[in-house]
Symmetry: C2
Subunit: 354 residues, 2 copies
């Protein structure tokens, strides 16, 4: 796949982030050496999608480390802690962010340990952090390439696929998860068609998925989230495939709000429901989806559009950003290490990094 856009790029001493909130209207990039800018970009969804959040978080820690002026190791580590806390505190649901932070922390511990032995200094820790962020980026890219290849086997020639939210290169910095599978199936010469849920409130489907599928030459019809059931009932959808923000040890999957509804509809219509995610999205430390923290976002995301309030100003609004789809609704979970089917518990252990 050739994409003409890079959602996140490392430029040696700074990170370049494509502002996804401006798409598809404008391609605006943010270049920064300030980790706080990266934290804000993650919070404000300039960069979003679990794998991309992980990569952005890693680079955020890297630029944060580079920006620390002190030379004394203990002081450096203390300031680095603030950087990591800030990055990790941006969004609570996507597993990949915490996974990336853990890898970065591990590098610090190792470098710190070696430093004591071989006289490594702060500069060496900084270099090690930058190298690790680049590796995390490369690993996520590679994982999505592999899982897309594996997942494409599940997509039958001639099928029409429903997807929710955005899971392409923008969301992953690589090939994509659910959208990667779809795009790979198309590259294999399969004649496929996609219904893309617009994905309220922030319209990642309308703004980003439609844009990415059109760039990839995959026929795509945009619908509102409320239309998926209609098209399923008419027999026009053959399978549903979505990404994930966090997968618990039992296979329960947190993903963009509305995913659970797609899963229930798929079950009701006897349609396979697939989750595609790198193993970095799997969190074996939690037994089930009940333990996944669900981010509550601001009422303004639902109430306002382009500065216009679409509801009475003082109307109460709830805005959970994710929901949890219990494992029983999931036909298979597609990862870079293989396709897992229920019961998920055991297989999950084997396919995770941990």
């Amino acid at each position: 796949m050739n994409t003409t856009y890079q959602p996140i790029e490392w430029l040696g001493d700074r990170v370049k982030i494509l502002d996804q909130t401006k798409l598809p209207g404008e391609e605006v990039y943010l270049e920064t050496r300030d980790y706080r800018d990266v934290a804000i970009a993650i919070k404000e969804l300039k960069v979003r999608g679990a794998p991309a959040i992980g990569v952005a978080g890693a680079y955020g820690i890297a630029v944060g480390a580079l920006g620390i002026k002190v030379e004394i190791r203990e002081e450096f580590l203390k300031e680095l802690e603030t950087v990591i806390e800030t990055i990790v505190g941006t969004r609570p649901t996507a597993r990949n962010l915490f996974y990336a932070a853990e890898r970065m922390e591990k590098v610090v511990r190792q470098a710190h340990h070696k430093a004591a032995e071989v006289g490594r200094n702060v500069a060496a820790i900084k270099r090690a952090l930058v190298d690790e962020a680049i590796r995390i980026h490369r690993d996520e890219e590679e994982a999505t390439r592999k899982l897309s290849e594996l997942g494409a086997e599940l997509i039958k020639d001639g099928s029409t696929i429903l997807t929710h939210c955005n899971t392409g290169p923008l969301a992953t910095t690589g090939y994509g998860t659910a959208l990667g599978v779809i795009i790979r199936a198309k590259e294999q010469g399969k004649k496929i068609k996609v219904y893309a849920d617009e994905t309220r409130p922030l319209l990642q489907g309308a703004r980003l998925t439609a844009w990415e599928l059109m760039k990839a030459g995959v026929p795509c019809t945009l619908i509102t989230d409320s239309m998926a059931g209609y098209f399923m009932s008419r027999g026009e959808i053959d399978c549903a495939i979505v990404g994930a923000d966090r997968i618990a040890a039992n296979g329960d999957t947190a993903n963009k709000i509305g995913t659970y509804t797609v899963a229930v509809l798929a079950k009701e219509h006897g349609i396979p429901f697939y989750v595609a995610a790198p193993t970095t999205t799997i969190d074996l430390s939690i037994a089930s989806g009940k333990e996944i923290p669900i981010e509550q976002r601001s009422r303004e995301e639902v109430a306002y559009f382009a500065g216009i309030c679409v509801t009475p100003e003082d109307c109460e609004i709830s805005n959970p950003a994710f929901d949890v789809t219990p494992a029983k609704y999931i036909t298979a979970i597609i990862t870079e290490r293989g396709i897992m089917r229920a019961p998920y518990g055991e297989g999950m252990g084997k396919s995770s990094h941990r």
Copy 2:
């Protein structure tokens, strides 16, 4: 119930219509003696909701009749035919529009018949049409008052109710259907709470339902359509209640797109799913929902918001305005003549006007 707003009013020689597309921001009224303005108002959803469309259609025919200048009966009837065709051709799904037109046509036939006997003239037919439009209006108001009273019995004290689209006074010119039931339950002193689906693409839930519930003093939380499943899965919704645009003889119900998804979710969670509609919404001429024509509306309704395109300009979009919920998902249908439960076929016949 005291409402401070009148969605449709008859002013002796003209009709006054509240432009619902401007709500909740502005209360703008259209006053017209031109049936073509009424047809445009229906097409452009300035007036919407099956019962309100029926009433607006009747008044549209009335002002159309008043505006015909010829005195020769045959010529008058020919021009009136154009008026009726224009009104009936505005929207294809709501049964109430055709019901109203049929009543108006019956009046013409009767007046025409009597005229041959007792020398009735064109003026008499005009008067009869105006009187019938006013009766249709009054009948719809009365029907929604009665069905709200009956339906309120189904609402348990302390319950949280999900609703979709808008079904209050705005949609009915009367008490409301689904929202009438909810508002009546609140008036009975029941402590209830509502989750209102925003109802994409035209946001009738966000713009109108939230507005009407706040005016009625019913606690309401606005959510996106994709969130209903989330709140059901958390046990936070006790029942769902919606209106209808057309109900087939077997109980299959066409209603705003997304209704079917709510019904599937309700079934999955063991939650009652109610439809509230006057019997004027029932169409015994069709055996099942398969025969209900589903209006396809413009791609712009999905693609644009406040003049801003939210997706690539050339993206393919589908925009069915309604879906059909098979009778098997419907716990009960609440009408002014009683509450019907499956199997619907026989009871339906008894409760229809036809």
